[in-house]
Symmetry: C2
Subunit: 224 residues, 2 copies
DNA sequence: CCGATATTCAACTACTCAATTGATTAGTTG
DNA sequence: CAACTAATCAATTGAGTAGTTGAATATCGG
């Protein structure tokens, strides 16, 4: 094989992986899969795509070996083939935010009062957990909580927050987290808690970043 | 702005960056730019693309703010906007190699006797340099050497290796490096040196990885 | 100002990709 | 086995993209 040919084929293969993550939809699917294993139906609903379309995107990802599938009964459950897949997605996100003023502007204006919500660094939260002085709530859907969550966190999906307020201590500061830096759920939760007179902050980033940085993770007994 | 709309626009922006690096050609250009600033003409020649085509790819990269341009006289010099751009490209490469058997197979078979050439880790080379007991040659084109190289390395472009053999000590082990893990020049250099009875090894990876890991870099006085 | 050179632009072709639709497969439940 | 469901497949549409070609722009040396 000549150098030219080798080089072309090599970059073509690299492009195959890169192309798998180049689509906005697929990036979103990867973000969702970073929360844990999900069925196609589930993913389609979350990403607001048609089943067929979702399935096709997943095929592309599978073709690049970025996700793996497991069939159980009627459903097919997809998961990331390895943690680095989300790592690359995160790298792209970081680069995008640094490079594209548009992204930063979008995030700033939509997730407004970004700084007012006083994001809490991971390390600080870990210290509080270890010291037993943290009230942490996971506002993601229960399924995502089951697949893995911060140790000691309560699962209170955003929709249940209002009616389960009483479960939370009145005086202590509550820390909310969700899927990641661009996920709106924790912002929303903090805003609502404050509206009810509670002290609340959100964790910087979300669960996938927590796990990626090697911090301890708790898993619920799962109906595998 | 509604959540749906926000989410769509966000992922669309992310896709813009991702799409910029999804093309095999552009990945190759990024690899070349990781060596240092280059003119369009130069890049076109290296990547074996037409001028117009190269220019267009560079426009795309510039649109995503991944590269910056500087005009000097007739020429336009492009460079990476920040080191992380190559970082993402490296991440993609790593993922591709881990995920696609094809890439591994390509690299294994083409850069054959991969292990026989005994790649030398960066840290070990650094120790030798500090101890003054390393003979390092940079086999990239002279221009890339000028833009930055490993301290103390001799610039011996691959084409000149044969006629400049006498400059190299006969007994000491020679360490060759080039552009990166998929660059064939160092392999070729080591093979030729061994054919002449010299002891030679290659550095794992290449110069961009050396720089990315924060090790010292030397720059020649440059005709900026 | 002329000719030469590096780069970009504009227009076009061939190709690839996202998404939709309707049909099909595989597995479950009554 | 029939009815139902989750997922995939096949075929089609429209949009976007890569690459080529030739013209336009900008800059330099004489």
């Amino acid at each position: 094989m000549k150098h030219r040919e080798f080089k072309d084929r090599l970059y073509e293969e690299l492009g195959r992986v890169a192309r798998a993550i180049d689509s906005p939809r697929r990036l979103e699917l990867i973000d969702l899969l970073a929360q844990g294993e999900r069925s196609v139906e589930d993913l389609a609903a979350e990403a607001m795509l048609s089943m067929a379309n979702t399935s096709q995107h997943l095929q592309v990802l599978r073709g690049a070996r970025l996700v793996e599938a497991r069939k159980e009964g009627l459903r097919v459950y997809y998961r990331l083939a390895q943690a680095e897949v989300h790592g690359v997605a995160r790298a792209v996100r970081g680069l995008a935010q640094a490079r594209l003023a548009e992204v930063d502007h979008l995030v700033q204006t939509h997730l407004e009062s970004r700084d007012e919500l006083e994001p809490l660094p991971r390390e600080e939260l870990l210290r509080r957990i270890r010291g037993g002085r943290a009230v942490v709530i996971d506002v993601r859907p229960r399924e995502e909580y089951r697949a893995g969550h911060i140790p000691g966190a309560l699962s209170i999906p955003l929709g249940e927050l209002d009616k389960r307020l009483s479960e939370l201590p009145a005086r202590k500061e509550i820390v909310a987290y969700c899927r990641g830096p661009y996920c709106v759920m924790a912002y929303e939760a903090v805003a609502r808690l404050r509206a009810r007179g509670r002290r609340a902050r959100r964790l910087t980033d979300g669960f996938p970043e927590w796990r990626a940085s090697g911090l301890p993770v708790q898993t619920s007994a799962q109906p595998r």
